[in-house]
Symmetry: C2
Subunit: 261 residues, 2 copies
């Protein structure tokens, strides 16, 4: 089953999602972005039309995929839904309830791919968990079909569980990546190449494929080796980074000793 | 060149290092640990003698590798060095200056492998960066030879740079792993399997092999999307985890806007 789609948005997720959908045989009719250059950049990658005025968005697509900043979703739905009552509307956000479409659209839902996306880095969508939700059974089938055409891991999840998944993903991805970044900043003070740390980073990520992060933990914090921690704190120049170190040290130690589970 | 070695310690690092040294042809004569069962467990893996009394440690080894908690290094050196003035002493700690051996040993140094180790998880030592330092040229050659027999990435680094490397490694490994753990705790509240997050974790770790962590950052914090962040904070029950979220959000946002570099 192949669908006629319009993509609203041109960011990291809109870019990778629309490329994956096109690769799997769907037809991307248009890309909309209020910024003409952004619409054009993505439309050129897809070989389709770029539009930057809402009145130019076609009315005959099977589905409209809204992949923009969370607080811009509602406005787009308000503008587009009234003239397109037969189409399916979906957004791709982790933290926005499906109900944002309630008073706007007839058929609607969510397709949330849980991954970190960059415009220039192509990802293998097949292994990305995609969480779907819909207003009615028929729409769910359509969004599921769309999601299954690009991913092998499609699951139905309601808005409240999706919000928790997104929160956990921020910890597992954005906070993790920022720990790499803080390491990089420390290394830059000594003019040491960050790439030296890639075997360590790789091993930390691989370890949790075979044991829980709780069991995988090592280092001075889990041992609560105060003399090492005091020495390390004295080497950190930035006050906020010192606060992060302290809070994480206490959290790691509590987790190791209090048996939260 | 193959050496006669005694291992002092039986923890994660002592275990993996002694196995790697044995694999590359060195002879591990003894394992010492004050806890007899710990000494025996590692000695059995190596097929060598376990000792738990310092007076039973042989005096004829080429080198003594002290791989114990940081604050136990000095005591071991004080006990062992006087009767073994021809041998080389080295410790394996990231944060302990080489000078800890100053008044104890004649020939001494450091062999610090920068990796996260667990007793049961065998690692490929070849790709682990090993940082070495020594009291004199001859000892440096010996420790370098030892390190190069197990790793392809041996570098000489002084104690002060090594301390910075260890600090950065704590951020890149232990803090990172704790972010996985905090994600796991959020998922457990919803009874969602942590393994669902492995593709995300893998992609975050892979991304920094081709771009800097600063450029790789995505998500609500780098956009400083306050409405998403407020919603997410309301979903976190643990006060310390909320503090970590807030501090990291501010740190990510500052990093994205202030151009530290």
């Amino acid at each position: 089953m192949s669908y006629q789609l319009v993509i609203l948005g041109s960011g990291n997720l809109a870019t990778q999602l629309s490329l994956a959908l096109q690769d799997s045989g769907h037809n991307i009719m248009q890309v909309y972005s209020p910024t003409p250059e952004h619409a054009t950049t993505l439309a050129n990658k897809l070989g389709c039309q770029a539009v930057s005025t809402l009145s130019d968005v076609r009315t005959d697509a099977d589905a409209y995929i809204i992949s923009v900043k969370d607080d811009a979703i509602k406005g787009l739905a308000e503008s587009l839904c009234p003239d397109r009552t037969k189409a399916v509307f979906m957004h791709t956000a982790g933290s926005v309830p499906m109900e944002i479409f309630d008073t706007q659209a007839v058929h609607y839902g969510v397709l949330y791919p849980m991954q970190t996306f960059s415009k220039t880095r192509k990802v293998d969508f097949k292994e990305i968990p995609c969480f779907v939700e819909a207003s009615d059974a028929e729409t769910l089938t359509m969004i599921q079909t769309l999601a299954e055409s690009i991913s092998d891991h499609v699951q139905e999840v309601d808005s409240s569980r999706r919000a928790k998944l997104h929160l956990a993903a921020v910890f597992a991805a954005n906070l993790t990546n920022h720990c790499y970044r803080l390491a990089e900043r420390i290394l830059q003070e000594e003019e040491i190449d960050f790439r030296l740390f890639l075997p360590l980073i790789k091993e930390v990520a691989k370890k949790v494929t075979v044991m829980s992060p709780k069991d995988a933990q090592t280092g001075p914090m889990v041992r609560y080796d105060v003399s090492v921690m005091d020495k390390q704190l004295s080497l950190i120049h930035d006050e906020r980074t010192r606060q992060i170190y302290r809070l994480m040290a206490d959290s790691i130690h509590d987790d190791a000793t209090q048996h939260h589970l």
